[in-house]
Symmetry: C2
Subunit: 495 residues, 2 copies
């Protein structure tokens, strides 16, 4: 910083920092204003960005001007613009202005919400914001919430709780080398998220003990097959530890019959975890409230406001009606935190103080609630409803276009903001169609005007569109669709 | 937003958003300018913040002005100001201007660095920034790095890798119900972080299988005791899966003899994980390079730039010379990500593309590298060195003051930025002293002028000071020390 700091040991001087904050405000505003003019995916190859970065760390501080210059010159050419309204990968993007203001304030405060005492406002705002999410998506108030970074981590915690009640002293003794514990298995549909396998690997229960249950024509779990699988396993001596039902699968946003699955889980005393990471959001709509039907019977439910409730990365909410179990697995207060832990001292009346560190792996917990609080208040319940409803309308519209345009056809029923489809010219073998559809996605993405992904359904490659950005309008979807058709025509013509 | 958005379905209109970004720039600048005038810890009781928040989510969107008003009126009175230069809890605070600018830019971009393809710049910047951390703290270039949110999660990943090589098909079959796997045990000092227990709980290995090894007078692991403990366990038929050595323990910043521990671990084919989450940073100083001696023999090392390398929450770096093992545990590419995964396609020459999702639980990965890159460049290696050296000087100064001021005495050798001490008037029983020291901390914190924590060492309550904020100067430490002495005198006089 070459003499510009408050002495060589301090921070950027106040005046300079204020000026840079304003420069950054303009940078952000300019970025948002021009995002549609940008190619969504950059034309870079692996190593290109690195080649333009200094290999070694600078020996001496550099002026912020130079660093911000390199942000534009080196970093930005390697950015995929997830916030572009025609970025239709994954579930769209949750970038928005109000939440961004919340992120900025949270970054300036830089508190850690591990105990109530170290961050009363962050802790209480987390509780309040989670109660809003719970109300929006129709989860009973008997469920307690906690924020993690991702749904993968939330599901890991849920299955850790399920494991805890599967035998005695699991936390204390573990599960290795024990004759009193059988193999524990988890059941999820063949469309469920891969985080179930990752959680089972981490928990020491093994990837092979995730039993993938077949799905019906609409990619919903076949409950009869679930019942049969569990019965077979029980006869073999393994124990059904948990069932994971999905509300809004990753590929097609299909919704498992949660109520029926709950009955099966209950009959076997298995933990029911509902993965509503994406699909929980649609239950904000009165007309789609049924998507979460049966979820009230779950032991735990994950909903990701960072997927479709307009909260930017990262913010995943786990709700459980058995917080005592979660706490029994994770509460552990070392001496250096005891003075700040609520359990250790009289909280002088008033409400109970929650120390969220007692419900999870992480101690360092960013003030994530602030961005959610700002977005939820700025949009309001009506505003969130109307945006989600519009995304559903756009997805249905695209599905209608697909259905009326051979050789395209839907590869799955359109659900929520997700449309999966496939070009399947009658003259082409299925494998050729796979290659064609993959090439269409690549070609469209190469234009920079839209960004799609593909997925595999019933072993066939499909094009997948996810709509979830507040900036996405009918014209963006139409542009993407036009590009898809053009790419398909050109690729087919080139054969 | 009452008619202020780009239609009812969009985002905040561009002009309004630009104005609010500038307002937020001033809010942040004002906060930073006035942070020293604020009481560090607020006088709130549990429920106070909640009582001032709207109980329910607003039905309609609210103007940003009102929300930002409530940020000041409702949220701020419940904030503990971690960034205050006299906040001496934990390891101090890593707030700083350059990193804050990086957080703002990252929030605006809102990309997820799960695969190279979905975020080339975020992925490559992560690699580059990690190489800088590696060089700064003296980790060999044969170690590959990855960023997680917290050290707890990093240690979980390290021990998952250790578990994987402890038996066949651990990932696939898990560890439950297997006769071929013994109980797996982990060894760590009685001063090691509680994340070791949390990781062992999560991994299904059990809290009781963390063997806490006694420490010497300087709170360093007793290697003879480690050797004995492992030998005893091996005779009993359990397997030493891993040893965790700590460089900079949480209570006293003590440094285990890593080289000697490495020899013991190697003799038993146990994984060596070095928890240098805090202490790795001190090795930036040439005169303290020895703190990391022996770490080059480790299988994995965690260093938290968000503890003492001026990167705000959250940013924890795991380095491993066995990335193949980490990948063998965690790589799992579902169909809906296959198109964006590097492994699935020709990366068209150039450097290999890393998909960081293959090395961890999380898929959603914020662009954390940007804030680190900005802070490291703005301060430079010299600037980071001089700041860390100053923090060590301030800690040594406080230790000298303590030593020359009865009835205070050091409770542990001063190390790095950490000073643990205790008022022990000769007339008082040890239990009375415990209560006295706890009360001193509470009284000092109640003044709002400084923030300390306490810890327990050898079953006695001590006052703990952690210095790590770039804004902290000698006068802040002196103020805290004056407050401590005043509180002790007053409390003792009141008996």
């Amino acid at each position: 910083m070459t003499g510009r700091t408050t002495g060589p040991l301090g921070d950027v001087p106040a005046d300079e920092m204020r000026a840079h904050l304003h420069r950054m405000a303009d940078w952000v505003a300019d970025y948002r204003d021009t995002i549609e003019d940008r190619a969504i995916a950059p034309r870079v190859r692996p190593g290109d960005v690195t080649a333009r970065l200094a290999a070694g760390m600078p020996a001496s501080g550099e002026p912020l001007e130079r660093i911000l210059h390199d942000l534009d010159a080196v970093v930005m050419p390697g950015i995929v613009h997830w916030g572009h309204p025609a970025f239709l990968g994954y579930f769209g993007s949750t970038s928005n202005g109000p939440a961004l203001l919340g992120e900025i304030a949270a970054a300036a405060l830089n508190v850690s919400a591990m105990t109530w005492k170290t961050s009363p406002a962050a802790t209480e705002l987390e509780t309040v914001v989670l109660s809003w999410v719970r109300e929006m998506v129709g989860i009973p108030s008997s469920f307690m919430g906690i924020v993690y970074d991702t749904a993968s981590v939330a599901t890991l915690h849920a299955l850790a709780a399920a494991r805890e009640v599967s035998g005695s002293s699991v936390r204390g003794r573990g599960i290795a080398g024990r004759a009193d514990l059988p193999v524990l298995r988890v059941y999820a549909s063949d469309q469920a998220h891969s985080s179930v396998e990752k959680a089972m690997v981490v928990l020491g229960l093994g990837e092979e003990n995730v039993v993938r249950i077949p799905t019906d024509d609409a990619f919903r779990m076949d409950v009869g097959a679930l019942r049969d699988a569990i019965n077979d396993d029980v006869r073999r001596g393994t124990r059904p530890m948990a069932v994971v039902a999905t509300v809004g699968t990753t590929s097609t946003a299909s919704v498992d019959p949660v109520g029926e699955i709950a009955a099966v889980a209950r009959a076997h005393d298995a933990w029911l975890h509902v993965d509503a990471a994406y699909g929980g959001a649609v239950a904000v709509l009165p007309e789609s409230r049924s998507a979460m039907a049966g979820a009230e019977l779950a032991d735990s439910i994950v909903v990701n406001p960072h997927k479709w409730l307009f909260v930017p990365l990262d913010f995943s909410a786990l709700f459980t009606r058995r917080p005592d179990v979660l706490r029994a697995v994770f509460a552990l207060t070392p001496e250096y935190l005891r003075g700040d832990a609520s359990g250790a001292r009289d909280t002088s009346g008033g409400a109970d103080a929650i120390d969220y560190m007692d419900y999870g792996i992480q101690l360092g917990r960013r003030f994530r609630a602030l961005k959610a609080w700002m977005a939820f208040r700025a949009f309001g319940r009506d505003g969130i409803e109307s945006r989600i409803r519009e995304h559903c309308r756009l997805a249905a519209l695209l599905a209608a276009w697909v259905e009326s345009t051979p050789p395209f056809r839907l590869a799955a029923p359109q659900s929520m903001g997700i449309v999966c489809f496939r070009a399947a010219p009658p003259s082409m073998e299925p494998e050729e169609c796979d290659a064609l559809n993959e090439a269409v996605v690549d070609d469209v993405n190469a234009t920079g005007a839209a960004y799609l992904t593909h997925t595999r359904l019933r072993d066939r490659t499909c094009i997948r569109v996810g709509i979830g950005n507040v900036l996405t309008t009918e014209s963006h979807v139409a542009t993407a669709w036009t590009r898809v058709q053009a790419a398909e025509r050109q690729l087919r013509g080139a054969r």
